[in-house]
Amino acid sequence: MNKMKGLVCKECKKAYPAEAIHVCEFCFGPLEVAYNYDAIRSVISKEKIQQGPKSLWRYKDLLPIEGEPTAGLNAGFTPMIHAKNLGRILGLDRLYLKNDTVNCLTLSFKDRVVAVALTRAKELGFDTVACASTGNLANSVSAHAAESGLRCFVFIPSDLEAGKILGNLVYKPNVVAVEGNYDDVNRLCSEVAGEYPWAFVNINIRPYYSEGSKTLAYETMEYLDWQAPDHVVVPIASGSLLTKIYKGFHEFESLGLVGPVVTKIHGAQAEGCSPVAEAFKEKRDFIKPVKPKTIAKSLAIGNPADGFYAVKVARESGGLIESVSDEAVVQGMMLLAQKEGIFAETAGGVTIAVLKKLAEQGVFKRDESVVAYITGNGLKTQEAIAPSVGAPWLIQPSLMSFQEALKKSDALKEEGDR
């Protein structure tokens, strides 16, 4: 089956071959994969998907590769949980969390996009892969490049969290720490990509790479017994994830795998970097870039490539885009950990804090299904939460010492409150 027709400009619809290009030569609009949906419709079915591998490759028919997957064979198909404890607090009977903090290989949703990007890069004949990253993407590209035996360059802002820097170095790629913010790194990489024949996963491979995010929507619908949810809450950095989740829902709808989709797509940003939320609130159709200042570094893109499209998707689907303070981000991380046992990174805190804000505004009805996407692991951003988590009791190895500490603490009091 030839499922890919080629690439097409999202703006002016000019067609291009399915090569390593990402921008329309005429209007600079983004190139997207054009699928042969008739051919896909003839081969795809719920049964075929259910019999597929327990990874995102069960949706291979809707992913832009020509042959068999060769990277990230265990990516995706992460747990989805019915979050009853958090739901009780927020007044939601059907709150679900998609837990990509345990994605494979590197504990973030980026393993999805990298599985697709590296498989495609190899198909296109590249021997070197690269990326501009706020951390998670670099970790994933580094790990998958190591596994695939590809040369690797990752470009990151120099002030990233220690866990994210170490999470690159261990795979021994070429780690380039740039003295600047992510937007500086991204601009530099666009220029580097013009000079070196490398597969930059989120630049010249971006049309393929970004499609990997659709699998979060597919897995959500499959888990919900082949239905799209009433609401989703998605963190926004570049805006790509949010637009691709929307696309995923509507692809399943048009292929007849689910009924009519009325999902409201809500976006979440941190106040210290909220150019998309600002554009949404001010009803603008253009993004004013900002200089990010937030602990949610993985979302700190001041000049988001898909910001315009994210605003459009939220608006058209009936969703909202909200922002929250860094303090609320930390509270969101704690709430998620202490109620559902999921230790998410700062982006997860942003998502939970916005979920809470929307719930308090009465955006959700009690019996509506709401899915929040938790995209990265808290062990990678320990600095952000370390000052808020307290310290262990330090005692001598004696029963008396323990009992004294217990008396001083309020652990038993809390027990009595239950």
């Binding site: 703006e11 990402h22 921008v23 329309c24 030569e25 005429f26 209007c27 600079f28 609009g29 983004p30 501009a132 600047g180 992510y182 937007d183 500086d184 991204n186 601009r187 990489c189 666009s190 220029e191 990509a193 013009g194 000079e195 989120n202 630049i203 971006r206 970004s210 950095a237 570049s238 805006g239 790509s240 994830l241 253009f286 004013k288 870039p289 200089k291 893109i301 000049n303 988001p304 490539a305 898909d306 315009f308």
Partner: protein
């Protein structure tokens, strides 16, 4: 001043990734580029002359939207980069 040209526009600059041009502000610089490389203005600007949504221009690594947009003044020692907005994330 030096102007760096992105890959999608290099067919218009005989394959050159870097060209020289002068102007008093960014709009003026684009007119100068148009005189040497006809067609380039139409790629960068829409019919009303505004910069296209998916084009970013930087002067010495700073986005002109943090200054005065197309009216941002430039001088010979500046380095200008034209970069597609769609990247990253």
């Amino acid at each position: 001043m030096k102007v760096r040209i992105p890959t999608p526009l290099r067919k218009l600059t005989d394959g050159q990734g870097e060209v020289l041009a002068e102007g008093k502000d960014v709009a003026d610089l684009i007119e100068a580029l148009e005189r040497t490389y006809p067609g380039i203005k139409g790629r960068l600007c829409d019919e009303q002359g505004a910069l296209r949504r998916f084009v970013n221009i930087y002067i010495n690594e700073e986005d002109i939207r943090f200054h005065e947009g197309l009216q941002t003044p430039v001088k010979s020692s500046d380095e200008v980069s034209i970069i597609p907005a769609i990247a990253g994330g």
